[in-house]
Symmetry: C2
Subunit: 342 residues, 2 copies
């Protein structure tokens, strides 16, 4: 009998999660019910928002419960189909979780064309990551040609796509990232106009220099001091899609006690719009997303870097590395090969 | 020769302005140029945003300069017209400033129908105050029937109108004000569904009780701890038009050092929209404002309380009282009678 390895939530972390936050266990192979497909996970997506789910308090999804298998998107192979429209051997994008096998409702599975050269794109630019970048930037950022778009976590999965979409829309695009190496990646591979390293003492001045016409859109993935540094640069009527707050997911650090008043002041005097969103809220407004993104990928207008880890044992290290900012591009863990390649 | 009494900006205040912030002086009667009208101010509007202009730093209007006559809207009588469409004796709403006489461009003057029973309505519900409430609530708040609207500074000029417009639009309307007496005014005269006194220790609990279905729109005039108290009550997809920040105009008090992170967290997890605005930005989107507001006033759906002071010497005290929260309704100072009544 084949066991189903799972990574479950073992203990609520205080501060940064660690190996002890998780436990690996073996469960019986799941049995699909009518309308479900049994999937073998091949590639797992590892995402920052999981950290937010580890707090025992309200978020946009329910808190993780101790003992719960860690959820997440995956590209998987159908090994048994109890639903129309799916066959053994199909590749699908599903919410497969951090485990070898998952039985999931077919209705929630996305069939991936078998000849797709890069099925992992369905975890990146063609998946939730891409939809987050696309819908958030277009609906809330409302980019116009010639405007300046600043993106934090620019070397990350969402940030890198946001900037590239901004370039397609004619913006001057300035990234913020955490190392010189990441900044080089952002300007050389992703073709942002500039990228500034927030870990240097010169950050505020360098950012200002990179934005000679101010900032019209600030797509925020991080919050905290980086956001406070961007604020004085925003132009009247700036838009700030708030997509993530990775800087404060480990716990809300005490900051400048005047920071809230300062933010409110900028919102008022510059008539800024800040809007938090998650992809499910606004993606339905963009039915053309997949077609447009596919075209951009084909034309090379958008490229996607993957930060690929290998093997089940590297899922947790990949997640911890992501929270520590070690990734460049989309964090993905390959835990199995498709049968067709075996 | 008739002198023109003026109140000018004498000294930038540290903290709360005082009598010394201003100086009264006499200037020669202004002489209108072609295209201008010479006005005698009858009623002056006294507004909180003036405090924001007293800081020597960027705001949505240039900082006041020392020696500058304090600006402000007024209802005035035309005493000499050098422009078509205006005649001696006409009543106009203009940016007349804190002085007896002003020569202003006719293009920027609004003619008030001579038989208007309440010309001061053009400083209140039919003026900038009313447009601020109307356009801010409709464009950013987007009220829908059955939603809960919370308004801070509910006994103030803008706040009182916002809540009444919210009632017209079918919302449950909850005010926040600074005394039991103001709260009574808000519920009994303005017909809000509830009003909570933020100066009581029970404030947070009372507000929660007054909003059993949470808060869909928070129209903010004050910022600071009041805003922080509202935040946890807002519903998913709440809208927060940010109209003013009177609690921090005297200087940004140090607050809870985690307050910014907390705000950002709420914006993200509840997918809130916060948008700062000033009336000039959005009023042009609402060409029907005056007609609709006039109808509501005629039907008694909207009432306007004026906090009236008498005489030129009471302009400064009226403004200081406004900043201290002493007003109920729109602060207006009558400095002269129309000639027709003399």
């Amino acid at each position: 009998m084949i066991a189903n390895r799972q990574i479950a939530f073992a203990a609520r972390p205080e501060g940064r999660p660690a190996a002890e936050t998780f436990i690996m266990r073996e469960a019986p192979m799941p049995v699909p019910e009518a309308g479900e497909i049994l999937c073998r996970n091949l590639w797992l997506s590892v995402d920052p928002y999981l950290r937010l789910k580890m707090h025992d308090r309200e978020s946009y999804t329910p808190p993780l419960q101790i003992g719960e298998t860690i959820p997440g998107r995956s590209v998987a192979e159908v090994i048994e189909a109890r639903a129309h429209g799916f066959s053994k051997g199909d590749l699908v994008a599903v919410s497969g979780g951090w485990q070898d096998f998952a039985a999931v409702p077919a209705k929630a599975a996305k069939l991936i064309p078998l000849r797709t050269p890069h099925p992992t794109a369905y975890l990146g630019p063609l998946g939730m990551t891409g939809e987050t970048a696309y819908a958030g930037l277009l609906q809330i950022g409302k980019p116009k040609p010639g405007e300046t778009l600043v993106v934090s976590a620019a070397a990350g999965a969402v940030g890198g796509l946001v900037g590239q979409i901004g370039k397609v829309k004619g913006c001057r695009v300035v990234g913020i990232a955490g190392s010189q190496e990441k900044c080089r990646f952002v300007t050389e591979e992703l073709k942002f106009d500039a990228c500034v390293n927030y870990r240097t003492p010169d950050f505020a001045r360098a950012l200002k220099k990179a934005c000679p016409n101010g900032v019209d859109i600030y797509f925020d993935n991080v919050g905290g001091p980086v956001t406070e540094t961007v604020l004085p640069l925003v132009n009247t009527f700036a838009r700030m899609p708030l997509c993530g707050l990775i800087s404060q997911y480990d716990g809300q650090q005490a900051g400048d006690p005047r920071a809230l008043a300062e933010l409110m002041r900028w919102i008022l005097v510059r008539r800024i719009t800040i809007r938090g969103f998650i992809v499910y809220d606004i993606a339905p407004n963009f039915p053309d997303f997949e077609g447009e993104m596919t075209k951009w990928l084909d034309e090379g207008l958008v490229v996607s870097r993957e930060h690929l880890s290998e093997g089940f044992d590297n899922i947790v290290p990949a997640f911890l590395g992501l929270l520590g900012g070690e990734n460049t591009g989309k964090s993905i863990v390959r835990i199995a090969e498709p049968s067709s390649l075996l």
